[in-house]
Symmetry: C2
Subunit: 398 residues, 2 copies
Amino acid sequence: MENIFAKRMQGVPRSFIREILKVSLDPSVVSFAGGLPNPAFFPVAEIQRATERVFATYGAGILQYSNTEGDIKLREQISARYLAKKGLSIPPENIFITNGSQQGIDLLGKVLLNDGDRVLIEEPGYLGTIQSLSLFRVQFVPVPVGDDGMDVESLGRLSDGCGAKMLYTVPTFQNPSGITYSDDNREKVAALAKRNKFIVVEDDPYGELRFSGAGARSFAQYLPEQTVLLGSFSKVVAPGLRLGWIAAPAWICEKLIIAKQAADLHTSSFTQKILYEFLLENDLDEHIKKITQAYGTQCRAMQEGLSRHFPATISFTKPEGGMFLWGRLPKEMDSMQLFQEAVREKVVFVPGDPFYTNRSKTSAFRLNFSCVDPETIEVGIKRMARALEVYGACSCRG
Amino acid sequence: MENIFAKRMQGVPRSFIREILKVSLDPSVVSFAGGLPNPAFFPVAEIQRATERVFATYGAGILQYSNTEGDIKLREQISARYLAKKGLSIPPENIFITNGSQQGIDLLGKVLLNDGDRVLIEEPGYLGTIQSLSLFRVQFVPVPVGDDGMDVESLGRLSDGCGAKMLYTVPTFQNPSGITYSDDNREKVAALAKRNKFIVVEDDPYGELRFSGAGARSFAQYLPEQTVLLGSFSKVVAPGLRLGWIAAPAWICEKLIIAKQAADLHTSSFTQKILYEFLLENDLDEHIKKITQAYGTQCRAMQEGLSRHFPATISFTKPEGGMFLWGRLPKEMDSMQLFQEAVREKVVFVPGDPFYTNRSKTSAFRLNFSCVDPETIEVGIKRMARALEVYGACSCRG
């Protein structure tokens, strides 16, 4: 009966990250491979107090089935934060709660995508989206991103007449590259979205984790009727609660609610109320400041280590926030081969391949700095430098 | 851009239950329409203590991202319970945690179903499954169920050569009818599944809520390699945690995990650990006994009220557990019209239509007894009897 499976299950990329995580379980291995927020900054005591208040305040009702859209009080908090932080006026009715922003991607796929539909996606791009939308058997149209955002010339050429329904982007502190689209770049991308009538999906799990530079605008400011925002509490509070949201124009919301109901009725009313109480009683901005100070220090430590120990032929992005750096080996090199050497040196990272929809043997790779302290970073970067030497990258030294 | 939506979103039935729930918000209305467990039996204090232990024991790690399959300790508890209660030997590796069993339905759809695939489904059947699988654009093949289970003759005729990939069933205290498949009936259904190579999806959210009669076997006892079990803590602990599971043969598990990861990475590690601690420190059987005693009393009160106040031309199922009774008006009558009269009398129930894949104007209807005490049941049944009189059903009195 092995041939009973749906066509959509054929050729779905198995998550390479899962394989890497197995290697990283060895405590003697330094891991730059993770994509996890640093648990040292999870506000455990505050969440515990919020949970106590939930039990004291709400009683049994908080454990009952609830509405598909999510807790209206929590949605009001999200709405208020959009206004305060971005000047965006998004009514709570247009926001609904999902199991992390990952679920938002799946629901958008359900609501929008037929077999063979074209999806514009930044390249390199978030591998969870590549995996999730692969299940809808879409045809990815990758659009390169550089240091300032999307290659607009390519986007224009690729989207004109292509009939793509959506563009997926993480425009702020991108996963995997750490880059941020400039406001000017966003404006141009939005203009193309308007011209070619595709929805811009702005996935923004890292946007609040800025440790240098100044804030970026949202696509919703340029193109409110065609922008869907995905948000997450995973990086600013804690991922184990599995709470994220979609903010979408009303005409899309209605369909998304049907898809959410069919998927799992609703997200836990209990964890939603805990988060609501947490946000009510704590200063999220102060909390985020602690996270970004640490991530900023760690990012700088990594950048300094790289410039000290790596040959100049290897270039890196310069993130102003988020959790990732993106490195590029000389073109003829293969980051997967470097990875094999690195494992021997007891350091791991993510080779570039899974961030591309249709490429292997890429020369790029992702480094995570959120979960490693400066001393460990120094150790890991030195080990990577040795791996580079063994692999022969040092012969490329300029 | 309204035509941007995926084909699967066309013609998905809007949940009628949601509409009814709006009417039931009026406190003067007696509702037999819900499908909710009674919150009076949610073990709130015990869950609170379990939550305190989670904070005391596990620290920040419990709020981190976790594995897609779910907490291995919780999966071991589920595995042990299958063995103790059903004699089923299902290794924890073959069980994984979902956001309620509703998500299990969606994941099975993803993994198994192409556009136009045939799905055998009991009729009447769970409307959440009809809604969820409609999104996969399947062709439903409804198979009637009677008091002892599925009409085996119909199942044989409908499944021979039809190429259906799965049969969806709630064989114990069915939603909506409250009936239970006899062991003999299950054996015959399993034989047909073997012959015609379809997977049996046994959704069992109510199986533990037995207040009379003796236990039923599982399809997994007859057909382990072709049975997928869906389970839920929503009816025996509390739905707001959104915790359920899938237990499947290894050859299906592997694909389900990919689908789960793409859908939302994993279910909340925090709520999973709370449930684990709850199960560790409490006697679930004792807790379930309290629930079933109350539900049994309420079911009997409803049955007595029905036999006192309703004409003999209206028949009812005789549930031995669960939360629902199923009524049948004389064939020429329309339960939706009765519903309109009932709203005027301030009592609501669910007309049969949404439990059918392709029928309207059904003469059947569902009554829920889990959330109403005997006195309120008496009031509600009297009101329904008046509605019946107005609608003219009493002229059918034998």
